[in-house]
Subunit: 540 residues, 2 copies
């Protein structure tokens, strides 16, 4: 098994994403999780370019990392300075990072057009910068910027540039597809040429996703002999992003016949959670279709797939989701079947037979309600609640009943936003609770009032948070022909420390649709807690 | 130049995405745009599996497509039927589609485990199904399900299966990576073997993105001789999605040295708009980092990149975004726009100079409000109104002023839907009008009450209809962290006999956001009528 170094640059190149802004605290949190995942190098930033990055390098020294080494990023020395007087190289050495990664120009047009020095002078700058850092006892990784474009336009010059870095002591020559325009067939051919020219050198790869090829290009380079991959969590990065380590690591671990090793194998099951954590800290909506780690990555919707995957998962799954800490999900649609309902009931401790009337009854109800616009494929928790309600005679209880709610919106010529107030009257175990609350908008006011009414009876509702709220207008389902009277579907995602769940509501009235999803969401939390409690009591 | 057929399956395999639900109207709209883009085939659905798909095939016949041919999808015949009595094959022929695409098992374990017939019987089924459709005069495309997994486990059987389809008259043998687990190096090797075994056959490729390799695998297949690619717009599809045609088409057109042609070259610049349109109809958040067509695809954030790209775009851009109908964005600068504003003002009879303060003022306001979530690219009418308001001193009038509105929602344990009532007090030319109305939900009630208040002053509002109402929750823009207090954007499309216009509102309160868009919509109608009237008087 060949060891492939994993070099994470989420904290440096990743932050070039248009929609990412990380402060120092965010960066430290992410670095700790990356270390737990077991990556080899964490590129923390460019200490020569800004103070946030310098703060990171100084603070991360307070943490005992288990596995990863910290790398600092910078450029070759400025044409006007000697290496030993260059402030950028100085800041790399002063950062306290274990590794210095510097980029240099290997495309001749960039030397003359961007750096504005002669081709010869550029080679000298590369050599002297690497040699100086090396002489100071630091391992140096050389990022060969625009290497593939450079090679395509002037192969001799591109090879000469990395040859200089190698001669000066660079430990890894990282070939960069900076503009992301290179195809895998070109990467394979060019990496092979580099290996021929510099058979002793360690080759790394750094790709961008402008052709949706960043992962493919990284794997192609490894298959041609590269031993070091630079990328980011979830593929974040400038323009279309960097190579996605959340795909690259599983591919090398699971899909290459055991030829390669990356992170410690037992850590692979942390990758789904690590991906989610980075999205969360960076305040980015996770991409549900993301390979390996996405919420939909192992979700089966089609009737044929759903029934086959129940029998033998490998028929429609190329890897076992549990190896990645992800899970299989068989979505409930009109097509999918009774077996799903039986296994769903089992999760809540009810043992049903496929042929019981309650199973068929639920399927029929799901079908009718789906045609009204309820999206049960997305809202599994609402399906589970429908099932539990049908099983009510077997001891499932109602947690609360609505007596009345009222929502008031008031806006006058002075106010920028309307005043929102909701009052809720509910009955819980024979006791009527009547509360009122304001909120950011009518749905939030209703949410606040309902929680206020219930919290005394069910204090664990404090653990629950509403994570996402989606509204879709379904023009076609509208009997009155569009406009403001359209039917809307609301999906609400909620979570507590243990899990996340999605519920649905449908109405031409957005308040009513939100209310349905809200009530389902809270009820689901209460059922879930009660079931856990019962199970623990039984286990004891 | 070799012609590569583009076969779009957004409407069939794409709808297997967890978060996509298209009704027939949506499907027709998307098909028309795909035809305008110039794809060769549009797979409309599986007529044998559900009534929505059947409705599509019957309705699409009312449209004169310019370029694309419609394909219907289905399976090989059921083991218990003769082909001529098989309802699934019948529904393909009855659909009226120009092409029949049927899938069959080419992985032996799927024949025995999923289809539950002998390996020999499965080959017979493939042959007889293709031969029957062929005998009925239909071109048949054979989707070789799980071909790559099948080939890896039993190459002789996999080749025998597609050999049967070829012999029976299949026009294209489409090799499917159904589970998405195959790497490009494997695709190249296996496609080469298939070409050796069946040198006369036309080879197609159908890939899934479970290894983030769907695009790379499609291109690898073409480079090894495939002449037909199946994929979806934006890569939507089951689990991690299908091969993304929005990347594949630009790669083949722009990145392969002119070796291939796909859609008519002048249509390539429609691809960004088509991608956005499909996301919009499917109510999916567009993926900003999407290659070629994404909002961030040519966005430069890094200081070095941003300044270099201003000098010479090719330094950091691998293709020219204008070829795709996309554009370069240098972030944190606002260079574009003045000329647009000048020409917009001209449409309303105002002659402005590019350097007037009002132009710069409007640009600044648009920038601020865009960062709050106002989508002015979609809502041009709201931009025009902002301009007209800035020009108020030049004689543009206010049509009405809000004094107060109030919206009440009431629901009790008896009512299924809440009672919705709105009262509106507005001032028009010094007269206060106070009205109330009920409605289907709060926004509809508000809409009804406002119109009732204004109709006596502006009878031409009777001509105006609200055509569409869209709501998008923008989690990222929410200062309070998600849930029911999220910021929402409302887009309202309105129309009269002459034109259609779109307006926008943004708030964490959906009533307020709807109110903003509603007021803009009505105001726009009134401005428009007044301007028409003035122009006609001048012409007389």
């Amino acid at each position: 098994m060949k060891k492939i170094q994993i070099y994470d640059t989420t904290l440096r190149d990743g932050t070039q994403s248009e929609d990412i802004n990380l402060n120092n605290e965010d960066k430290i949190k992410i670095a700790i999780r990356l270390d737990e995942l077991g990556v080899d190098f964490i590129e923390g930033g460019w200490p020569g370019s800004n103070p946030v990055d310098r703060a990171f390098f100084s603070e991360i020294q307070n943490y005992q990392l288990k596995h990863a080494r910290i790398a600092a990023f910078g450029s070759t020395h400025h044409p006007n300075f000697l290496p030993e007087n260059d402030p950028n190289l100085r800041s790399l050495l002063d950062s306290g990072a274990s590794v210095c990664t510097i980029f240099g120009k290997t495309w001749n047009i960039h030397a003359t057009e961007a750096l504005r020095v002669s081709e010869e002078r550029n080679l000298e700058i590369i050599h002297d910068s690497v040699a100086y850092l090396h002489s100071q006892g630091k391992p140096v990784f050389f990022d060969a910027e625009h290497f593939f474009d450079g090679y395509k336009s002037n192969p001799e010059y591109a090879l000469a540039a990395i040859g200089k870095a190698f001669k000066a002591g660079a430990e890894v020559l990282v070939l960069c597809d900076t503009n992301g325009g290179t195809l895998p067939s070109e990467v394979s051919a060019i990496v092979a040429e580099v290996r021929k020219a510099l058979p002793e050198a360690n080759i790394g790869i750094h790709t961008h996703n402008d052709c949706e090829m960043a992962v493919a290009n990284s794997i192609a380079a490894v298959q041609t002999g590269a031993m070091h991959i630079q990328g980011t969590m979830n593929g974040v990065g400038e323009r279309c992003g960097n190579a996605n380590l959340c795909s690259i690591i599983p591919i090398l671990e699971l899909k290459c016949g055991g030829a390669y090793t990356t992170i410690p194998r037992e850590k692979l099951q942390l990758i789904t959670a690590t991906s989610a954590y980075v999205s969360d800290v960076a305040n980015m909506q996770p991409f549900s279709r993301q390979p390996f780690v996405g919420r939909s990555a192992f979700a089966h919707k089609g009737g044929i797939h759903a029934s086959a995957v129940n029998r033998l998962a490998m028929l429609y799954e190329h890897v076992d989701p549990r190896e990645l800490g992800n899970r299989q999900r068989v979505l409930l649609t009109e097509l999918a079947g009774r077996a799903n309902i039986v296994s769903m009931a089992r999760r809540f401790g009810f043992h049903l037979d496929k042929d019981e009337p309650v199973v068929k009854g639920l399927l029929n109800e799901l079908k009718t309600r789906s045609s009204m616009g309820y999206d049960y494929a997305a809202a599994e928790a609402s399906v589970e609640l429908l099932l539990l309600k049908k099983l009510a005679r077997r001891g499932v209880r109602e947690f609360f009943n609505l007596v009345q709610f009222r929502v008031l919106e008031l806006k006058d010529s002075h106010g920028k936003e309307p005043y929102s107030e909701a009052s809720v009257r509910v009955e819980v175990e024979g006791i009527t609770e009547h509360t009122a609350a304001t909120g950011h908008g009518p749905v939030n006011a209703l949410d606040n009032a309902l929680r206020k009414a219930l919290i005394g009876f069910y204090p664990r509702l404090n653990e629950m948070r509403l994570l996402d709220f989606k509204v879709r207008v379904m023009t076609a389902a509208n009997p009155d022909g569009g406009g403001t009277a359209s039917v809307v579907r609301v999906l609400i995602e909620s979570g507590d420390q243990q899990s996340r769940w999605v519920t649905v509501g449908v109405s031409y009235n957005i308040i009513e649709a939100s209310w349905q999803a809200l009530v389902d969401s809270i009820t689901y939390k209460l059922y879930k807690d009660e079931y856990e409690k019962r199970k623990n009591e039984t286990d004891d």
